[in-house]
Symmetry: C2
């Protein structure tokens, strides 16, 4: 049957068993500004009790945005919010007041510092849910964690919402964590202190995903991106652990042209990377790439020629921020880095990773979230993601710290399950996961392998049995594996 | 109820009215190579009769990939395929054989050249569906056009599928058209002639979306990216049209600091851009950005300082390819450029665009697909997308060509509807869409406005009434508007 379109054309709408709609007119696009005030943005997003708000943590301890937004929302009288940050730091201590006032009742996101400490002593309505970087990305992708409003801090944005973290005085690196929130959230609000000429380039979030742009005085203090701990250890015991890590890599045949590595930001991991760089340079070979959080130590390796490429999604210091803005070709999103739902991830070809832990146990389980007294103080990060992916995942820890045994019978909380952990490298020797018969075979005769039980015994002989934490029955937190299953419960700390 | 996880931990699975799954073990990731042979890839993708295959056209007339793949599939005896290319060129003439043999029975994608010519004379099982760049992206996003296998030509890729068009001897610009295919297709196959060290940087398609990587001798000849027409016209009549375009822009108050413009790749459009650049330089001001296909003329403007940024998603010559690989910060996907489903697009802030046409009519409708004899010879491109978006969309055409009136009562095929076209600029004067009262008001007294009917009359007085094309009853093609509705039917050309 022929029908007339808006243009007056008579067209057939049923052809070869398919039916079509006739053209019905168009309006010209406007491309108008999306910049509005904070209050107006919250109104337009129809903010209300019970909603889920998401944030990224890339300004780390220098972030102003979470506090700014929660204060504004609190002033509007909105309650019962679920906060889906990618991590909290010391700077987010004011969140505790919002918990006390009923503004925040649920948290699903990594908790570093005072908020975690508060929540493990004062249970929220629901347990805090701790997901790895990749696990969180997947949970937002599947809808398990659905943000109603994604607030995305950007160091530069244009009036249409193209946004980046790479340029401007508050630059913090590419916006790597928020891509999936931008796609999935009902509303997306860019929060920036730097409106630039359209179109903002180096855009990590593009205008097609953005509803509103809000300008604030300052999104944060990038000088506080760097944490106090970000330096190579000068403790000789820790340096010996770092040396052991590199010896193990070498014995395993991993130190070779094109190797891909990652290191955590702890002092031992950084020292191990330094030693690895020295070894590569000594042999005149180059690693193919690094992955994960970027530090000046990795940038130095790149410049020294022993590292061909960098693949990063997070900057841990200002040197890295500067490097990232000059090398957009090296930047990834967390989705690219570690989304377990993808057909491949940047970390899947990791030769080795050196990570820290608060505790490890004789089943090779690793705790990075709680202290041995049960307090929830540390971020979960990408620890389990990279451990699962790396051909040789190394946990670098002293067997005990002060009076607390680090290698122990059972970790207080499982953050990374023992079945994906390959080696525990300590100041008293190296234990290899008995599942990794191939690895044991490879290093036999080159590295002395110490049974994990023996490392535990050495620890206990120095410290005695671990103190039993004073915990209640209430579950205050959950650690999830990246596939969405539960690794462990975290119990209330009694004071 | 407490259950034991794979790690032996007893956990509660029902907490605060939510139920959770216990951890069930993990396997280490392998990160193995995805490189397999062509035949194996097709087998693994379970290629079979009736499937839809997608391709991008960014190697343009230098593309080898479509022919290579269709030959291979044809040899396997597979039939009844739907081809969802983003465009065909002369080089794709061998597709006609596959149509004759029943390998290809349906085509949904832009048809430049011999395949279009064949299909308008020899109807396929279903009409060819012509969608604009943005309209195609949206159709794949919604599932209206679902590729079973996306074959993505890449000038460099690593063994895990990270892929780009920016580096290597077959570089053609960033892979801008295939992003949505990569997300939505059942299987994604990267076809490359250049396997690079992992991880491939400048990646436009990332490994998380890729199933297989196939290495071939040569994906194409990038020297044939440039079409013969890509030069500024030296015809004085056409130069006067180009001059008229810039005069109109200036009268409309558009030639100012920060303006955003686009131009088609035809000789008149390129000349208009050249004049625009001269005017900007003369006044010491700079355009904010260009959008759309990149040519050396726009690169020259950037280098001359009268254009602050470039925003592009397609390279039309080798100078642009070289420029793009040095300026990844300026590159967009078609989704960013013109996806009508997005909350904003790069083109939405276009001040003006200068485009060509095969015909225009007194209702301001534009034909870019068929000749006046009905033959389907030209791509639909982003013509309607940018016309809808630009504040001042200009069609630059002579009133007639040889004996054929270009300005006419009714275009043979509507590619872009008249309600989004603002001005028709010819060698005999400028017509403004009467809907644009604001524009008419602005230019009054500065530019003589000629009624569109008068331009038609001038044409007819030179050429006589248009020849009636010799068309049959069968519908061989459909032009769609970017929202999925049908603008027009294309009828069989009788020989």
């Amino acid at each position: 049957m022929k029908v007339e379109t808006f243009s007056g054309r008579k067209i057939e709408t049923n052809i070869a068993d398919r039916s079509f709609e006739p053209y019905n007119g168009a309006k010209k696009y406007s491309g108008s500004s999306k910049v509005i005030s904070f209050e107006k943005a919250l109104q337009e997003c129809k903010i209300k009790d019970g909603m889920t708000l998401s944030f990224h943590h890339q300004l780390r301890n220098g972030d102003f945005v979470v506090n700014l937004i929660l204060d504004a929302i609190s002033n509007m009288g909105v309650k019962d919010l679920r906060i889906a940050q990618t991590a909290f730091f010391d700077v987010h201590e004011p969140v505790i007041e919002h918990i006390k006032n009923g503004v925040v009742t649920r948290i699903e996101g990594s908790c570093n510092g005072p908020v975690g400490d508060y929540c493990c002593k004062n249970p929220l309505e629901q347990p805090v849910i701790l997901r790895s970087h990749g696990g969180r990305w997947a949970a937002v992708e599947t809808g398990e964690l659905h943000p109603n409003i994604a607030f995305i801090a950007a160091s530069a944005a244009d009036i249409r919402g193209n946004a980046t973290g790479l340029i401007g005085s508050s630059a913090f690196g590419n916006i790597a964590y928020s891509g999936v929130d931008a796609v999935k959230a009902d509303n997306v609000v860019i929060v920036t202190d730097n409106i630039v000429d359209y179109p903002c380039y180096f855009r990590d979030i593009y205008e097609g995903l953005v509803d509103y742009v809000v300008e604030v005085d300052k999104i944060g203090d990038p000088n506080k991106i760097v944490s106090g701990s970000l330096k190579v250890t000068d403790d000789s015991m820790k340096l010996s652990i770092a040396r052991n890590c590199v010896d193990l890599m070498d014995a395993a045949g991993i130190v070779k042209e094109g190797m891909i590595f990652q290191a955590g930001a702890g002092g031992i991991s950084l020292a191990a990377i330094k030693y690895l760089g020295e070894l590569l340079n000594e042999r005149g070979i180059a690693a193919g790439s690094s992955t994960g959080g970027l530090t000046k130590y990795i940038v130095d390796m790149y410049h020294s020629g022993c590292l061909k490429q960098i693949n990063t999604c997070q900057c841990f210091d200002m040197e890295s921020v500067k490097f990232a803005s000059k090398h957009p070709e090296f930047l990834s999103t967390i989705g690219e880095y570690s989304n377990p739902l993808a057909k491949g991830r940047n970390i899947d070809r990791l030769s080795t990773v050196v990570l820290g832990a608060t505790e490890v146990d004789t089943s090779f389980n690793v705790n990075v979230n709680t202290h041995s007294d049960g307090r929830m103080l540390h971020g979960i990060g990408g620890h389990q993601d990279v451990s699962t992916a790396a051909n040789l995942s190394i946990m670098a820890v002293p067997v005990f710290r002060k009076t607390n045994p680090i290698v122990r019978e059972k970790v207080t909380t499982i953050s990374t399950p023992g079945d994906v952990v390959d080696a525990i490298v300590t100041n008293e020797g190296i234990a290899i996961n008995p599942n990794r018969k191939d690895l044991i075979e490879k290093i036999k005769g080159k590295i002395e392998i110490v049974p994990i039980e023996e490392l535990k015994n050495i620890a206990y002989s120095e410290t005695g049995e671990p103190n039993k934490p004073n915990l209640g029955e209430e579950i205050v937190g959950i650690t999830k594996f990246m596939d969405g299953t539960v690794l462990d419960n975290i119990y209330r700390v009694l004071e």
